[in-house]
């Protein structure tokens, strides 16, 4: 391969190098114990999805260009150049990975394959081979920030429509979806689509919260694409907004990666401390139920409810109990999936894969474990606080005819709230 390309790609590894990565690359014993932890490997049986194999592709380049032993005896490590063949393999491995980190859970050395694959994505982007769809979605988010005046009226009109719905649902003619509210306590950063705003607005209004809605959405395709700078700028859109409005807390919606990006990544990316707290909407709802700010009634929900821990909220975000407490306050008929919490199987829809059409077959095959779990639970309702998980599980639900209602947790909460107005029906 030509030397300038080689320099660029090895330069990416050099730039991304840090202690964790180096230890991960040096220590893997290729014991393959991670094999049965990966929903994609288990679902497809395809060697390229074995977690240690995915990481091995980066290790092969690392050995050749970053270690003396690999430089002298490359054959010993199957060390190789980041040529077209390797990049092809890397593309499949990296963009198929949902970043659930279940392989890290079982690894005796806790090797974070997703962290190694973040280098893979950076290499692919530098080689002009990043996933196009994810790249375009990231650019669209940035375009919106750069040309905000162009979008503002449409967005505000949309909020007004939702406000009308909220008034109808709550029966409160003064209910609001506050826009650009200076001095609000909470900035709620929703997802694109009324479904993530409407129930949240009902809850905030009923709880009497001093809140305002963000002009931007929480989803971050820059993160999925693997471009840290884009991911940072996409998040920065509402960080700047929060600073301008002087809020005390940013609340993210029922979305997995948005929570992790904000709570665990953003400060490191931007090298500055955030002057506000980050919460997941379900942490707030749990608080509201427990302190009596909102009232929910048991018995309004029909069927057996179960809960799916989205990887980025659960294993990778640390929120396990609040959503369960919420669901248990809505119904007496709650069952947990097995396994659950930290050991939860990934649904197969994370990491942006639901947006990648060419990986659809892999994605559906990789849902086999989730389907098994759902069947075994006997549940008829799945409470699921992550958009990508919902999209994936809804599709699995149809393909495998599971007959399960896949709903947001906040929708269930609104269903169980005694409100004066006309409630939407989710079940």
């Amino acid at each position: 391969m030509d030397s300038s390309q080689l320099n660029t790609l090895t330069g990416v590894i050099d730039k991304k190098m840090n202690r964790q990565l180096k230890v991960y690359l040096d220590t893997c014993a290729r014991c393959a114990i991670c094999k049965d932890a990966c929903h994609q490997y288990v679902g497809t049986g395809d060697f390229k999805y074995l977690p240690a194999r995915r990481a091995e592709l980066i290790r092969q380049v690392y050995k050749k260009y970053f270690t003396k032993s690999g430089e002298f005896v490359p054959a010993l490590y199957e060390a190789r150049d980041p040529d077209d063949n390797l990049l092809d393999e890397l593309y499949d491995s990296a963009y198929a990975c949902t970043g659930c980190r279940r392989c890290m859970l079982v690894c005796p050395f806790s090797i974070d394959t997703a962290w190694i694959l973040s280098v893979a994505k950076a290499i692919l982007i530098a080689a002009g081979r990043g996933n196009e769809m994810l790249g375009q979605l990231a650019d669209a988010a940035l375009f919106k920030a750069d040309n905000f005046e162009m979008f503002k009226d449409v967005i505000v009109d949309g909020f007004k429509d939702i406000e009308a719905e909220v008034r109808e649902i709550t029966g409160n003619p003064n209910a609001q979806v506050p826009v650009d509210k200076q001095g609000a306590d909470i900035l709620y950063v929703a997802l694109a689509g009324a479904h993530s705003i409407r129930p949240a607005a009902v809850i905030f209004e009923e709880a009497g919260a001093n809140w305002t809605i963000s002009m931007f959405e929480a989803a971050n395709y820059g993160f999925f694409y693997g471009d840290v700078e884009k991911a940072r700028l996409i998040t920065k859109r509402f960080i700047d907004e929060a600073k301008r409005l002087g809020v005390k807390e940013i609340v993210v919606p029922e979305c997995g990666h948005a929570y992790r990006v904000l709570e665990l990544f953003y400060e490191a990316w931007s090298k500055e401390k955030m002057p506000f707290k980050v919460s997941h909407i379900l942490e707030k709802v749990d608080e509201y139920i427990k302190d009596g700010s909102i009232t929910v009634e048991k018995g309004l929900l029909k069927g057996t409810v179960t809960y799916h821990d989205p990887c980025q909220i659960g294993r990778n975000g640390g929120i396990f109990e609040q959503p369960r407490d919420i669901v248990k306050s809505l119904t007496d008929s709650f069952v947990d999936l097995t396994p659950n919490r930290a050991e939860q199987w990934c649904c197969g829809g994370g990491g942006g894969i639901v947006a990648i059409e060419e990986l659809k077959d892999v994605r559906l095959a990789s849902g086999s474990k989730k389907v098994e779990q759902l069947r075994a639970s006997g549940a008829t309702v799945l409470a699921c606080p992550c958009e990508n998980c919902r999209l994936q599980i809804q599709e699995l639900n149809e393909v495998h005819e599971l007959g399960i209602d896949v709903v947001q947790v906040i929708d269930l909460v609104v269903d169980a709230m005694p409100l004066k107005g006309k409630k939407p029906v989710h079940l």
């Binding site: 964790q20 220590t27 490590y77 199957e78 890290m104 050395f109 806790s110 090298k271 975000g317």
Partner: protein, 243 residues
């Protein structure tokens, strides 16, 4: 024979120890001077206190409960091998000097130290052999084979050599040459006055010891440049797990 022993069991040992120590020091230096990522890579639930974190790191490193849960067979063989290897290492310390207390205790129940060493060494030797054979077998089929690179086979080959020749010494010459004789050779080595005890040269154990040491030398020299650095890397990466 004497030349072979001088190469493998004198000069080879010096070289191997030097390469091993410098290599490991270099590895640790490299790791510790590479800046840490400011992003916390831990997974939940994580212990809140430093003591809890260290406790979890030690459990994850020495017991690996999550690994046991997902693949008990692999976990069992890996555990058996590592515990046996540790046992064998401790047993080998006898060539530095006789244990305090233990021989006296054994004497009270009518067992000599050499008999005890024969039994414990045999068990460790067999377990290590079984472990190595298991790993070799595992790398011959399916995804394990596809994932393996020459480094994996080289290390297993060296390890097999070390263990087979060690077992050879234990099972064939165990009743003839005891720790005291090897101790004389090894302490001479450490004192930089290398010499072989006459007893050792007169017996046929030389070829066995020489080959055991040949594999051990090569194994130790390759150790710092191989995946075997997991022996120290595991502490660091398992600590990151609860960051």
């Amino acid at each position: 024979m004497e030349t072979y022993l001088w190469i493998t069991s004198v000069w080879g040992v010096y070289l191997a120890i030097a390469v091993f120590v410098v290599g490991m020091a270099w590895r640790i230096y490299q790791w510790s001077t590479t800046p840490k990522s400011p992003i916390r890579l831990g997974m939940f639930p994580k212990p809140k206190t430093t003591a809890g974190r260290i406790g979890k790191m030690l459990t994850d490193t020495f017991v690996a409960p999550q690994s046991m849960k997902i693949e008990p067979t692999m976990w069992f063989f890996a555990m058996a091998f590592h515990i046996a290897a540790l046992g064998a290492f401790v047993g080998h310390l006898r060539i530095l000097g006789e244990y305090p207390i233990l021989p006296g205790l054994l004497e009270k129940v009518g067992i000599t130290m050499n008999d005890f060493a024969a039994w414990s060494g045999s068990i460790a030797g067999i377990l290590m052999l079984v472990g190595v054979l298991y790993w070799i077998a595992r790398r011959t089929y399916g995804p394990y084979k596809n994932l393996s690179v020459p480094e994996d086979y080289l290390l297993l080959f060296l390890l097999l050599g070390v263990v087979v020749m060690g077992d050879h010494m234990r099972f064939v010459y165990g009743g003839i040459i005891h720790a005291a004789t090897y101790r004389e050779w090894f302490l001479n080595l450490l004192a930089f006055k290398p010499a072989f005890p006459a007893e050792l040269l007169e017996s046929n154990v030389g070829i066995s010891l020489g080959t055991h040491m040949l594999f051990t030398d090569l194994f130790l020299m390759y150790f710092p440049f191989s995946k075997l650095v997991h022996s120290i890397g595991a502490f660091s990466s398992n600590l990151v797990r609860s960051e």
